[in-house]
């Protein structure tokens, strides 16, 4: 297993896109506290603002860092097929389950480290503009930031699972962008049509929507017309997202063991 981890680590390290994706994620996330700091540094910081600044807008707009790390996850498996490297990989490391496990562990570790780095960078930026980061180590911000790390890891693992399931990069990218941004947003929007109100109880099971609950310091606001979706609490919602990731990875894993390389 150590050999497999070394292999995966070298693979990640020698890929330019790893640096591009992590770097872009860090920069995009850091842009949020900078913009807020330039525009509103005279306003007092409440928990939501601290959370939003430190997680780079992940709980409000788009989880930039999570999306970039999901691309790293997709590349971890999808690139092997896109460039045919699965074949040298499996002749260097023919134990397929060990390979998948090593990919999961390295992507998890890298995503956690990059997310923690992003939190540190953003907290430092908040400190620069406001002179303080109130309540960073107290709830609700503390739990929301831990949730942010979990959210990004799960997001990246969904990418890894999709890349392995589709054995390629483009279709996995399409799903990871389309599903949260279009499909789930559409379903949430449709619940506001009275005739489709029966969709309301399903919303708390939408994986990416549920996953976003991990990062909140106050209930999500879907607009004035939105019904009460009755979300599970932070960690249970995270469990819904994690279960989704586990299903995708599980299916991909089973197929990977059976399929021709």
């Amino acid at each position: 297993m150590l050999d497999a981890l070394r292999y995966e680590w070298t693979r990640l390290r020698t890929l330019r896109s790893t640096y591009w994706m992590a770097g872009s994620g860090l920069v995009a996330s850091a842009a949020i506290p900078v913009v807020l700091g330039l525009g509103a540094n005279d306003e007092p910081l409440h928990a939501d603002a601290v959370n939003l600044s430190v997680n780079g807008g992940a709980s409000f707009v788009i989880p930039f860092l999570a999306v970039f790390m999901a691309v790293v996850g997709i590349f971890a498996t999808g690139h092997e097929y896109r460039h045919g490297t699965i074949q040298p990989t499996l002749t260097a490391l023919p134990q397929r389950s060990r390979l998948i496990l090593a990919k999961i562990l390295t992507v998890t570790a890298l995503t956690s480290v990059v997310t923690l780095a992003s939190i540190a960078i953003n907290a430092a930026l908040v400190l620069v503009f406001w002179g303080e980061v109130p309540g960073l180590f107290d709830d609700p911000v503390r739990s929301a930031l831990l949730g942010y790390v979990a959210h990004n890891v799960i997001y990246a693992l969904v990418g890894l699972g999709l890349g392995l399931l589709f054995r390629g990069v483009p279709s996995a990218l399409v799903v990871i962008f389309l599903m949260p941004l279009i499909v789930e947003t559409l379903i949430v929007g449709l619940t506001m049509v009275p005739a489709l109100a029966w969709l309301v109880p399903a919303v708390k099971f939408l994986p990416f929507t549920a996953g976003a609950e991990l990062m909140l310091t106050s209930p999500a606001n879907f607009g004035p017309a939105a019904p009460d979706f009755g979300f599970f609490d932070r960690w249970a919602s995270g469990g819904v997202f994690a279960l989704f990731a586990a299903l995708i990875i599980g299916a991909a894993w089973i197929l990977f063991k059976k399929r021709d390389a």
Partner: protein, 319 residues
Amino acid sequence: MIAAKGLHKRYGKTVAVDDLSFEVRPGVVTGFLGPNGSGKSTTMRLMLGLDHGEGEGETLFNGERFTSIRRPMNQVGTLLEAKSLHPTRSARNHLAMLASANGIADARIDRVLDMVGLGPAKRKMPKGYSLGMSQRLGLAQALLGDPHTLMLDEPTNGLDPHGIHWMRDLLKSLAAEGRTIFVSSHLLSEMQLMADELVVVGRGHMIFNGDVDQFVREFTTSTVVVRSPFADAFVSVLEAKGASITEGDDGELVVSDMEIDHVGHLAFTEGIELAELSRRSASLEEAFMSATGAAEQFVAEMPIQTAQTAQTPEGAQHA
């Protein structure tokens, strides 16, 4: 030593590999021959557990399945398709990645890159590699763990003449060290110089498994070449004894269906002066053609006649 048993693979309705069993001995080069699409690459992938076949087929490398070998690159080196490379990962990094899974030291990476002649290009990205360069990198990959067994699928593909020559010497010397070498190729003249043993397949079936000379003898008839100032007289003597004779391009007689000593004896007893009496043994290429002719799947058309050759009587004669 490689022992493959009952390999089988089907893609939909096409049976790519049909119950192949063979052994590859150490100390010699074993050639793997067959027409396009006859299942050579698929066989190699099955042997390595890259593809999954049906049934009980399995391949043992010194008694172990490939997929259960720990750090397999130190035991079995492989070169399958060239260009299985990430376009922006340098040759050196590509090998470093594979080495990291097999406990291979960095010094060995530079060593094999120099061995295959990629030393100067090792920091370049494979997207700028020519076919021959990718192939050399593939070879470096196969040699990386200094393995006792090599499985190479068309390693000479894309190599220049020096490269092909080098490859032949390399494989022969590795075999002489007691390693097991299993190599597929379409370059039959190379194979004839290099291989001692053959596995020949056609449409997934075994056609021949044994040594090269035996293959050539089994699938060709060797002929006897005769030159004589009294050729015409000798032809009737030979034909009377049941030989079939054709005239060669240089006016020599090519005798088949008769052993060379018999031809010599007839010349002696009939008092016919001979200028040449020699045996012409067929090449591996001829044997391959006759052995696999029926198993060929992808048969090209004969060259299209141009308008000119079709019109002139001369051209017509040639055609």
